[in-house]
Subunit: 139 residues, 4 copies
């Protein structure tokens, strides 16, 4: 991982995200990863909304999560997101979720994406988006 490619976003755990075990339900981390992706693109000065506006979708083809410690209601959590592999028709993103205050690592994971057109066919990632995905913030 190139530290310059990591984007962090922080938010509070919502009550609705907990389950009767008293901790955040494991499905929620998949949504947090997605919010990490959204934040990664916002940090690059764009938005996934613009990908779709241009007629492309970065569909999720695979997701993997490892749960290390429970997240709890109202704690701040930080999602760290960075790209790890970039192909012509797809890419992979990596994630870490940490408790913001303590820095404790709560979960790690990854998502693989393929580029689809409006008809749902796999297609090449448009060059402009390849540049964004390959970019590293050295500012």
């Amino acid at each position: 991982m190139d530290p310059a490619s990591v984007v962090e976003t922080t938010f509070h755990v919502r009550y609705a995200e907990t389950d009767q075990m008293g901790v955040v339900h494991h499905s929620v981390y998949v949504i947090w990863f997605e919010e990490g992706r959204s934040a990664w693109l916002r940090a690059r000065g764009t938005s996934y909304a613009e990908v779709e506006a241009g007629g492309h979708f970065f569909a999720v083809s695979e997701v993997h999560v490892r749960y290390l410690a429970p997240a709890r209601y109202d704690r701040a959590v930080t999602v760290r997101t960075w790209p790890s592999r970039l192909g012509s028709r797809g890419f992979t993103l990596e994630y870490e979720v940490v408790d913001t205050e303590s820095g404790q690592l709560l979960a790690t994971g990854s998502t693989r994406h393929i580029c689809l057109d409006r008809e749902g066919r796999v297609t090449r990632i448009p060059e402009a988006w390849r540049k964004v995905l390959a970019s590293v913030d050295r500012s």
Copy 2:
């Protein structure tokens, strides 16, 4: 309420639907009402998917829920759905959620809907759908 217009659908409470209070999170009932609507249309031999395929949306303009008793993980719950008011551009549906086995009433509520076209403009409910919404099953 005309008993002939009531449609029931039954399913198990999902673990993900609970929260750390140990009961179903209150936002979930809004999703259960929607599943009640879907079942109501399926019982009429159609699907809300066909409403959208025809270029219309029955957008929710208002929702109201009263919570009477908690729902618990893995219990069967039954949602009872029926229409209560039908106008030219909108309609209201009513709901009851009961514990299937005990019959205990868990929640009641209603949703108001307005008919939109693809551009998001309020429009008249197509006549074919008005007939479905006004129909009562006397079979």
Copy 3:
């Protein structure tokens, strides 16, 4: 509404919160209201986690939402929350959701709460929490 009692919290709309109509699903506003409540208590220097740690729950007994305009993916939305009625065993909170940038009002609503003890019995709101709920920030 006393402006001094209003607390605002702002976040981005998550992709998972949209539905196939292309806008935020109506059930999500109930979760946003809850996040508004959490933020309201945080702004008072406390947390709903402390309510529960003390053996009490502010269970939702009723929710009402009116939808005025659709919310869209990746837009910033602001939830404004304020208390409107405070009884010995319950209270009501009011909400507005606005598009942060344009200020457009997207939804309004309210939630009623009753105070429960660990056994799920309705009980008086502890005096310390009544003071918090009655407080208005004049700082």
Copy 4:
């Protein structure tokens, strides 16, 4: 996979489970897997609620999903669940999600679980539950 160990459960895709891509959001499959687990235990004549009532939790330590084809609103989907590995303190379950009518495979995946006690410590799976997890229905 021993066919006798596979349990199937079928339900309709909920509207709230779709996203603005027009298909089911990828996080939902994690919840469907969990519903597959619940159904697997119900088919064994018990319930995960009884695991927790006995003071144990089968916490998810890892989840993996591969998405093969999109699921769509109001279609019936079937989740097939079976155990694949059983250790002293944990076990793995495997899943397939298919479109009920066409039989098309929509997703595959797995979850790993560790047994926790009420204090959140990893502990041995109680013998009674080991027997359930090892059981195969030859009826």
